[in-house]
């Protein structure tokens, strides 16, 4: 019993860290309906500013005050430049925009502040204190105390003050708030200013414990998101309490992990267990069909009709083969072209689940990982031939897809995104990082592929392997196009647009969602298993939850609801063709910054994705050529298409 209490006390420090970051997430969501994945990066950036100011001779408290003011200004800037233009956009667009902010800030930090480790002065007394016979840093208790005070203050402020009530009003109904005389813009800006100041407080206070580490801060956001999820992104007290409980649970696991039976998977237990509990809680408390009053999100990206143009397929295929022939001898370009096609296959899985059904899945790279590791087990360890190994490994991912799809029956929108990332963390921690199952850092080997006795070894015959991947990509693209035009596809779009209406029209919402998850898991796993063959060896780092997050970001900007968008996402993916081309043109250090900014700009200016915008542009040019004296507006071109689809398919 003594040890239980002891380790509960020791977990308060980490718990307070999660709680204070979770409070900031709730604050942003209440103010602007955004799940801010960049919150921890903002906290880290502010901590760097604080250290920089103290290094320049400012005393600690002056530096603290200046940092808070700068953070507030930064918050207002982010709101006006990134968030406000996306006020009407769907939740996923705003989420992707915050990923752009995260990427930009993370890449800016080494450039602005350098790479040397910096010592962070502690504003809190850090001398040892003894509680229950164990000594630890007093700063942990201070941090907990500050978190409690902040929770009480924020709860009271947002419940009892006019500003708090106005925020609530603007969050639920902007037009109503305007009619009451409030400015949603000013309310949003003020909330972002407060949230970024809070992030700065969190960053400065926790950095002496966590150090100024991008790795650590990036990881902290996941438990903080879990805490905010339990608090439904609205309750400060529940969020803070959950954050502290996650810290305490992890600490208890530290104590008792060694006493667990040998068969129980222990690796990653601390990461995964809190998430698993939260996922179960969300499923149990979620609703099968949204309530009547549930607010609809902004218009989701335009789902293209899924028409297959054989001419373009042939041109594209010829271009890929030409590229592979021209790149002969350059392993870098050969590999980049093939990898782009593989990433395109994985991105097509997102077109199905997110583009067509509107379910935000941040676990797609986990499905790809399942396929990759399965193919190694099947082919390398059991000698299963190439094609059967690919098919079986893709099929193995289907039940996992269904399992991860289960929460989608009761959890929606960004909440589902966080639940799926929780599942991705659990898969990563329990399975992918388990040395017994996945080879750990070293990964598992994959044999050289042969097709009907013909070697298509990617190292020896990159063109042959590239041609095979091209065939699979085309097959997947055709399948997704056909799906879009089928009855199932129309049901999917109906569910995406309005679950209640779809259910009222006889659509089995649950079955439709599960179908989408199963199919997307199959496609992603197929991509993952081909990636395994291309790499020759596969390890868990390629399938981390963060890789899944960035894949969604790329797919969204490319066009998450169109097949051409999915293929373009492959070209834009890290390690793909554009990555290699741009990497040679742009200064290495600035690559991340430019990528982040481009991501934000595209999300704001091209809400349907780059591929759809490009398609509209080419169509418009074509019409202009046909009728040079009667230029059409975009409305002329696009809206009739959407209208025709709406009438014909009974959806959009």
């Amino acid at each position: 019993m003594h040890d239980v209490l002891l380790f509960a006390v020791l977990g308060l420090g980490a718990g307070a860290v999660y709680a204070i970051l979770g409070l900031g997430l709730v604050l942003v969501h209440r103010g602007s309906g955004v799940v801010n994945f960049a919150h921890a990066a903002i906290a880290l950036f502010a901590a760097y500013v604080f250290v920089d100011l103290t290094d320049r001779g400012l005393d600690h408290w002056t530096a603290f005050a200046v940092t808070l003011v700068l953070a507030a200004c930064g918050g207002v800037l982010i709101y006006f430049l990134v968030i406000r233009p996306l006020r009407e956009a769907p939740a996923l667009a705003r989420l992707v925009a915050t990923l752009g902010v995260l990427l930009t800030l993370q890449s800016l930090m080494p450039i602005v502040f350098g790479l040397d480790a910096r010592t962070v002065p502690s504003l809190l007394p850090s001398d040892p204190v003894e509680v229950l016979g164990v000594t630890f840093g007093r700063d942990r208790l201070w941090l907990l105390g500050i978190t409690i005070v902040l929770t009480v203050v924020l709860s009271a402020a947002y419940r009892f003050t006019r500003f708090g009530r106005a925020t609530q009003a603007a969050a639920e109904n902007e037009k109503g708030a305007i009619l009451l005389g409030y400015s949603p813009t000013m309310i949003g800006a003020a909330n972002w200013a407060i949230a970024c100041s809070l992030a700065a407080v969190a960053g400065i206070l926790i950095a002496p414990i966590t150090s100024l580490s991008a790795t650590t801060f990036t990881l902290l956001i996941l438990p903080a998101l879990a805490a905010a999820l339990v608090g439904r992104f609205s309750s400060f007290s529940l969020t803070a309490l959950t954050g502290v409980l996650i810290g305490v649970t992890q600490s208890e696991i530290t104590r008792y992990q060694g006493e667990l039976p040998g068969w129980f998977p222990q690796q990653g237990l601390k990461d995964a267990l809190p998430f698993l509990v939260i996922i179960v809680a969300m499923i149990v408390t979620g609703k099968l069909i949204p309530r009547r009053g549930t607010l609809s999100e902004g218009r989701p990206p335009f789902a293209t009709p899924g028409l297959i143009r054989p001419r373009w397929v042939l041109v594209g295929a010829a271009a890929v083969m030409l590229g592979l022939i021209v790149a002969e001898g350059s392993t870098t370009y050969e590999s980049a072209i093939t990898y782009s096609m593989i990433a395109g296959i994985v991105s097509l899985s997102l077109v199905v689940v997110t583009g067509y059904v509107g379910q935000i899945s941040l676990a797609q790279m986990s499905f790809a990982g399942v396929g990759a590791f399965a193919v190694s087990k099947l082919a390398e360890e059991n000698g299963v031939p190439f094609l059967p190994a690919l098919a079986l490994s893709a099929l193995i991912a289907v039940p996992i897809g269904l399992l991860i799809g289960l929460p989608a029956l009761r959890v929606r929108g960004v909440n589902l995104a966080i639940v799926t990332i929780g599942a991705a963390v659990a898969i990563d921690s329990f399975i992918f990082q388990n040395t017994d199952w996945s080879g750990g850092f070293d990964g598992l080997g994959v044999p050289k592929p042969t097709l009907f006795g013909w070697s298509i070894d990617p190292a020896a015959h990159p063109q042959r392997f590239g041609a095979f991947v091209l065939v699979v990509l085309i097959a997947c693209a055709v399948m997704v196009c056909q799906l879009r035009r089928s009855d199932t596809g129309r049901r999917m779009l109906a569910v995406r647009d309005n679950e209640r209406a779809a259910a009222a029209n006889g659509v089995n919402v649950a079955a439709t969602k599960l179908q989408a998850f199963a199919l997307s898991a199959f496609i992603a796993a197929l991509g993952g298993s081909i990636l395994a063959y291309q790499s020759g060896r596969i390890s868990f780092q390629r399938f981390s939850p963060l890789q899944s997050i960035f894949l969604v970001a790329i797919a969204y900007t490319a066009g998450i609801a169109s097949v051409s968008g999915g293929i373009l996402a492959g070209v834009l993916a890290g390690g793909g063709l554009s990555f290699v081309l741009v990497g040679e043109l742009v200064l290495d250090d600035w690559y991340g910054v430019i990528s982040g900014v481009v991501l934000i700009v595209v999300v704001i200016t091209q809400p349907d994705g780059m591929a759809v915008s490009w398609s509209r542009l080419t169509r418009r040019i074509g019409r202009l050529r046909a009728r040079p004296h009667d230029a059409l507006t975009e409305v002329d071109v696009v809206q009739p298409v959407e209208r025709r689809m709406t009438v014909a398919q009974g959806t959009r």
């Binding site: 380790f7 020791l10 420090g13 980490a14 860290v17 930090m109 080494p110 502040f113 790479l115 040397d116 480790a117 010592t119 040892p128 164990v134 000594t135 630890f136 840093g137 942990r140 414990i209 966590t210 150090s211 580490s213 991008a214 790795t215 650590t216 990881l219 902290l220 810290g247 992890q250 530290t254 104590r255 992990q257 060694g258 690796q267 990653g268 601390k270 001898g329 392993t331 870098t332 590999s335 980049a336 990082q433 040395t435 750990g440 850092f441 070293d442 990964g443 190292a459 790499s535 020759g536 060896r537 390890s539 868990f540 780092q541 390629r542 890290g574 390690g575 990555f579 290699v580 290495d588």
Partner: protein
């Protein structure tokens, strides 16, 4: 032909090493000419808190030095650097870049390079002679690391600890990948074989707070707590150890002795700290170490000596020694053939590489052929010997 005479010829590298050493203090040799000898360098920078940019600094200093002193067999040396960014896709691309550029070998260190880049360079028969960090680098057929990396470091530290007469030890290891495997095979097994009571405690990399794990590791008052973490986490563990009043000596990898890692740490913790060093870079009266420090001063803007830059410096210089011996025959293939059969290759600032005597882990032979380590500690902020100027190997 190269294979037949390699043993004889490579022993001569000892003498060439001395010649190189004298070259720095003497007059510069003729300027190298002809096709450059390309050497791949894997390193990591741009990731705050996980910066291994010193690896490139060391390799560049060695290259500048060589190019000012007749290069390799009269040919200039050209580095092909690749920042793996701790990203598997980028690491894979690095491997492809090395193949495309036609490097003769790859030096340096990258946390995720072994699992992702090595698979690309292995079919091209390009030897990896850098610092091994993943099992892949310990086992790959083309891996002939001049320095032993963690596979040599931790067994050596265990042997040193046993020599200090310890009875109880804890191992706090990174709960990721092969962390447990390393904790068991490299530390726990040799310590237990020496009669030491061992407790292992996992904790995730970049944990929000290391205090609970450290308290657990400290239970039962161990004599030594071994830390299997990177320098970044070492700093946080040291600070937490100071706060909870750990009495045990802490043992960590050499990178945890860097100045920025021990800054702000309770002096009592620093006093008992010991770590490994793969080279003699800190030794004042060693000629090769002196050459390394002078080269840093002259060619690397007076950069501070460090274990990482010393490692890559040593790798490039050792490679140059072998290349001089191979002469016009130098290529990735000839280098690989030489490394496969060689013994007695003098490692710059180190001991010798013996391909006939691989280190065995859990009964299986690895591709680690140099297991000698120095045990060091800190005195007045400087790295000093902890083991009476003796090399120590956990495998001998």
């Amino acid at each position: 032909m190269v294979m037949n005479c390699s043993r004889k010829a490579l022993v001569a590298v000892l003498g060439i090493g001395a010649l190189l050493a004298s070259g720095l203090v003497g007059t510069a040799a003729a300027k190298p000419s002809g096709d450059p000898v390309k050497v791949g360098v894997i390193y990591l920078t741009g990731v705050a808190g996980l910066d291994l940019g010193n690896i490139l600094t060391g390799a560049e200093a060695a290259t500048s030095y060589l190019n000012a002193h007749d290069g390799i067999d009269g040919r200039p040396v050209e580095l092909v650097p690749c920042n793996e960014k701790n990203d598997p896709a980028v690491s894979n691309a690095c491997g492809q870049k090395f193949v495309d550029e036609g490097v003769v070998a790859v030096v340096g260190l990258g946390p995720v390079y072994g699992a992702n880049g090595l698979a690309v360079t292995t079919p091209a028969n390009i030897p990896f002679v850098g610092t091994p960090v993943s099992t892949q680098e310990f086992l790959a057929p083309n891996s002939y690391p001049f320095l032993g990396g963690s596979a040599a470091a931790f067994p050596a530290m265990a042997k040193y600890a046993l020599g200090q007469g310890i009875k109880k030890a804890s191992i706090l290891y990174a709960d990721v990948g092969a962390g447990k495997l390393a904790a068991d095979a490299l530390l726990s097994d040799p310590l237990k074989a020496g009669g030491v009571e061992v407790t292992t405690v996992p904790e995730k990399i970049g944990a929000a707070d290391f205090t609970p794990a450290l308290v657990q590791a400290n239970q039962g008052d161990p004599d030594v707590i071994f830390l299997l973490f990177s320098a970044e986490d070492c700093n946080r563990i040291f600070k937490a150890a100071g706060q909870i009043g750990v009495k045990a000596r802490l043992a960590a990898s050499g990178s945890c002795l860097e100045k920025q890692v021990v800054d702000g740490v309770n002096p009592a913790i620093v006093k008992g700290l010991f770590a490994n060093s793969e080279t003699l870079f800190y030794v004042k009266n060693d000629k090769q170490a002196e050459l390394y420090r002078k080269a840093l001063k002259k060619y690397a803007d007076n950069a501070s000596p460090s274990g990482f830059s010393a490692g890559s410096f040593s790798q490039v210089m050792t490679l140059a020694g072998i290349g001089d011996t191979l002469g016009a025959d130098l290529s990735a293939q000839s280098l690989l053939d030489t490394l496969k059969t060689a013994s007695g290759i003098k490692v710059f600032m180190g001991t010798e590489l013996d391909s006939a005597a691989p280190a065995k882990l859990a009964g299986a032979a690895t591709h680690v052929f140099n297991t000698d380590q120095r045990i060091v500690t800190l005195k007045n902020g400087k790295v000093v010997e902890a083991n009476e100027n003796q090399w120590i190997s956990g495998f001998k």
